[in-house]
Amino acid sequence: MMVVALNDQIVRLDSIADHLGLQRRHGEPGFEDDAVRACVGRLAPIIRKANPKTGEEIAAVLAKHFSIHFEEVRGPDDIVHLENTYLRQKRELGFAQLRDELEDPHVDALLFQRMRAQPHEHDRWVAVLNLQLTDAKVYWDRFHEITHRAAEPEQRVLPFRRHRVERTNPVERLIDQIAGEFAFYAPLFGPLVKAAHKRQRLCVATVEDVKAAYAPSSSLLASMNAVGKYWPSPAKVVTASMRGRKSDPTKDIALRITMQTSGIAGSESRMFVIPNMRVPMSSPIYAAFFEKRRSEGLENLGDWTTKSGKSLAAIPVFTSAIRLGSVVYGVISAQ
């Protein structure tokens, strides 16, 4: 079964390579970067021509270009509405599966290719986003589905379906990588972050400002990662939660760090965080978690020590953090 699944993935990755006109194949170094470049290069003229100002507008432009219509399901009434619209009125039989599919809380999104749609119709593809549990990923989901249409050839008679979607799935990983480029599109998003950098230091409020201006429906973490990536001076985005050691998750439960993003400006800096490291009490991240509030301030990475007594490079940084649920989201920037 695993072999079949893997072969299916390789067939799809090959079809993506053919569709995007790539020389390299999956498994060769640089394949993913080539795919991102090719896809961005292909859609850049469409985005440029539409002259969008925000990420939400880019999503709308690309969805229109690829005839994708988004539907959001937040409760049972929405399912009834979609069944009436697509199954009963438009005679799209695939929507008879909708109710059963959305009963599974693990289903994030469904993409239907309408069989009875005319070529000029704007909803030849209908992406149904399951927001019954959370709408945190709604922004990202849109770009993910759009990218499937952009990167994969159109299926004339549906020879294969995209169903195995675990995080280890190489196709989905590639699609996510490409989707990230469109969700926070460098020619628009980069200057926005640069302008914020001139006005203010990197903190949660900065991220919220940029998010509000560019992609209000994006999640805080997605925006934080994107701002951290394009921040013109060294920056890191981290999360922290209570857990044990990597080697034995039941031992030494403590507030520990997970690296999310390292900014493009940070590659030459000495700012370095060890994965799963304990957060020291002196860090604003610690305060944010245990006092359940926003916290920010100056700290020195030299105060971050491992159990064996090693410490990070002594670099003064500004840290800003917020706790949402059981996780702290933080940005660390060089002073």
Partner: protein, 118 residues
């Protein structure tokens, strides 16, 4: 012909009659022959969908069994398959398994009023 008949579980005489248009063939048997020859049912019927063509459609065995029991026409069976496959992507943490006969029955019940046989 004898080998194919044996592999498909039919008599050579019957297969010969089908080939010459002297006997009717059920959809399920057509699928069995198509699977043995590794071609599509369309190819057997009218030469379309030759081996290697990218638009070949393979009828799942569970669907052909369900269609046989329900007495569905080829068009209705293909509409069921088309409906099922129009869900082209399903993003989930959970695995999807291939439908069994009962699931095809359930699907049929929900959409039967929109099928050509209705």
């Amino acid at each position: 012909m004898q080998q194919l008949a044996s592999d498909a579980g039919m008599s050579p005489g019957y297969l010969s009659e089908v080939e010459r248009g002297l006997s009717a063939i059920s959809f399920e048997k057509l699928v069995r022959i198509a699977e043995e020859l590794k071609v599509t049912t369309d190819f057997l019927k009218d030469g379309k969908g030759a081996p290697g063509e990218s638009d070949a459609v393979r009828i799942p065995a569970a669907l052909s069994a369900a269609a046989e029991q329900l007495g569905l026409s080829h068009r209705s069976t293909m509409r069921l398959l088309e409906g099922r496959q129009s869900l082209v992507a399903r993003r989930s943490q959970s695995q999807e398994t291939e439908w069994n006969v009962q699931q095809w029955f359930d699907f049929y019940e929900r959409v039967k009023e929109y099928l050509p046989d209705a």
